[in-house]
């Protein structure tokens, strides 16, 4: 249960952090988001990751919790990355900077 919750929080956290990067904003939304929105996404992303750490530490203690947190963040960042790549492959025409095949 703690793993599932931590996984979901990490997923939300990294998704928010990805949307807070200008390059990804342009690729996904076709434009840069307002600076305030970018900062909110950064803070939300960081908070979600800290919350995931808190959940794992509360459930398993510092030693196991930190190891599990490291594993979750590594894996989930890879999943978010693959989702971004997959999205850009599925909807290349939505991207203004994409060239035709």
């Amino acid at each position: 249960m703690s793993h599932l919750l931590a996984f979901a929080l990490c997923l939300a956290g990294f998704a928010a952090l990805a949307f807070a990067v200008h390059r990804q904003q342009r690729d996904i939304f076709g434009r840069s988001l307002p600076l305030a929105t970018t900062w909110v996404l950064r803070v939300l992303g960081a908070c979600a990751l800290l919350l995931a750490l808190g959940v794992l530490v509360a459930w398993h203690g510092w030693s196991l919790g930190l190891v599990m947190f490291s594993g979750h963040t590594s894996l989930v960042s890879g999943i978010v990355y693959c989702m971004l790549v997959g999205y850009s492959r599925i909807r290349p025409r939505a991207l203004p900077r994409s060239a035709p095949r």
Binding site: R23, L64, M68, R89
Partner: protein, 542 residues
């Protein structure tokens, strides 16, 4: 202004220097590192793999009472190993369905090793007659000491490779100047850029793990690599024994009294340990001079649930069962080493954490693999005549094929050997290992004989076919096919079959992608390089 320019020039200089260091430390022992990483990754499931490779041993639907099992096996030893000067048994747990034991005999006659080992049935106490195999322990041992060479040589080579890896990681971090800006960047269809992005992503996402696993790998063998401090600090036998007691459940051997006294109840000893640590938390029971009045027994705590390999054990007087000592703490330096050791092995993990270890370690393997391939991708574009590359390029290219695709074929062949070699057969375990190396050597010959692209595609397909048919072979040669495993809830056998298909799919996808790329003409490739198909912005990484 000038000062800024100077700083920028100096910054570029250090980055370029680090880039070269990263390239060459990554390449020179890269194939060894890849093999260490992949076999090490697999080793996170070595106990499960060992169960799969000994299908004759029945699955444990629940963990038996370790105290009862320990007494049962001790009774068996009392009958069959009367002359043993020492024995040690690893009790069954959530990941082991048998009791593994080894023993030493004091009287060594010519031709005898004075050492024995066997697997025992926890339900009956009798020896089990499973096929002779090293199981998952082969990959585990290979990943830090290799094979066909003295163990110490292998460990020195592994240490050198790990040190190269550590240098490559640190220099790679310095080289990668936009870690956060490029965190999620992947530029599809740009060949060299795409490989670089994939390599960076695999490196950065798992960076804490990669640093940890490399550094702790060196720590596990630090006494071999840097023995001088220990030699200076611990000179007398008593000091060395004290050191040994900090690092493992060590009972000073002492001398037998010569007076025969049967061991007291081992069950009671384990019971005391269970009360202290929990029902399924006992790891091993070790006995020195069992059956003698001077016997000592140590009951050690298992690895699950604690991020430390520092020994915790109860020491008993063998003849009376009296608790002599409780050792649950070691000094700060020993505990630091114990934590690093545990972080490397990950044996404290629950199932989810073990999968996290496996998957992030797999990312590390892919990081090394993409780094090796990138070396050729980058230089291919600069070749004056791509059809006649220079020797170094050809060497790296062919070693990459055998080192990456060929290793997958060889590892799968090892598992095929486990199912196909007759049983019983003299030297069967060693034959499985020979098969692994013969197939690996054949993939190198194949890579040398075929055009590079064809060799990649053919070996990736070979790995895919072998992996996808392994569950079929398992169904034909054992009583534990997938449908049976699923019905019984046997997730070790079912998981192995499903994992084989997942890896078969991965190899097939890589084979198809490589084949498709080879079909693209050079002019098309150039066009692709100018105009990326998708994503990611046209901004370069710089």
């Amino acid at each position: 202004m000038n000062s800024d320019n100077d700083q920028r020039v100096a910054g570029r200089g250090i980055r370029q220097t680090m880039s070269s260091l990263h390239t060459w430390t990554g390449l020179l022992l890269g194939w060894i590192l890849y093999a260490m990483f992949l076999t090490g990754t697999v080793s996170y499931f070595k106990d499960e793999l060992s169960q799969w490779m000994r299908p004759e041993l029945a699955r444990l639907s629940e963990i038996p009472d370790q105290a009862v099992v320990a007494q049962r096996i001790a009774d068996e030893f009392g009958k069959t190993l009367a002359g043993a000067s020492q024995w040690s048994m690893r009790l069954p747990d959530a990941r082991n369905n048998s009791v593994y034991a080894f023993w030493r005999t004091s009287a060594r006659s010519p031709g005898q090793r004075g050492f024995g080992e066997a697997y025992f049935d926890p339900a009956t106490g009798g020896k089990v007659t499973s096929r002779e195999t090293l199981g998952g322990d082969f990959f585990y041992r290979f990943h830090f000491q290799f094979h066909y060479m003295p163990v110490v040589w292998g460990r020195w080579i592994a240490g050198a490779a790990a040190m190269f890896m550590l240098v490559a990681i640190v220099s790679g971090v310095i080289t990668h100047k936009k870690i956060f800006v490029d965190f999620f960047t992947f530029r599809w269809g740009r060949r060299q850029r795409s490989w670089l992005d994939a390599h960076n992503a695999l490196a950065v996402f798992g960076l804490p793990f990669h640093l940890m696993i490399t550094y702790t790998g060196l720590v596990t063998l630090m006494a071999l690599y840097m023995p001088w401090g220990e030699r200076v600090a611990f000179k007398t036998p008593a000091e060395r024994q004290q050191l040994a007691a900090e690092l493992s459940a060590f009972i000073p051997p002492g001398k037998p009294s010569g007076q025969n006294v049967p061991l007291a109840s081992v069950e009671e000893m384990v019971r005391q340990a269970q009360e202290r640590w929990g029902r399924d938390q006992v790891g091993r029971v070790n006995a020195v001079h069992p059956g003698d009045a001077a016997a000592r027994v140590a009951v050690t705590r298992g690895d699950p649930g604690r991020v430390s390999m520092s020994p915790q054990y109860l020491e008993f007087e063998g003849a009376t069962g009296k608790l002599l000592a409780v050792r649950e703490n070691v000094g700060g330096a020993a505990e630091t080493r114990g934590v690093f050791y545990a972080l490397h092995l990950g044996r404290f993990s629950d199932t989810v954490t073990r999968w996290l270890y496996f998957l992030v370690s797999f990312m590390g393997t892919a990081m090394v693999g993409t780094g090796l391939v990138m070396w050729t991708v980058k230089r291919r574009q600069q070749l004056p005549d791509p059809d006649r590359p220079y020797f170094g390029f050809r060497l790296v290219e062919r070693l990459n094929i055998a080192g990456i695709a060929g290793l997958s074929v060889a590892m799968t062949a090892f598992l095929w050997g486990n199912r196909l070699l007759p049983h019983p057969l003299e030297g069967r375990a060693e034959l499985e290992i020979h098969l692994f190396f013969i197939v690996w050597a054949l993939t190198l010959l194949h890579a040398l004989a075929r055009p590079a692209r064809s060799a990649w595609v053919e070996q990736l397909w070979a790995a895919s076919v072998l992996l996808s048919l392994l569950p079929v072979l398992n169904a034909m040669t054992t009583q534990r096919p997938l449908w049976h495993s699923l019905a019984e809830g046997d997730w070790i056998f079912a998981g192995m079959d499903i994992m084989c298909w997942a890896l078969a799919w991965l190899h097939a996808a890589l084979a198809m992608r490589t084949a498709r790329q080879s079909a693209v003409s050079p002019s098309r490739s150039k066009a692709n390089r100018r105009a990326p198909v998708t994503v990611a912005s046209s901004e370069g990484a710089g």
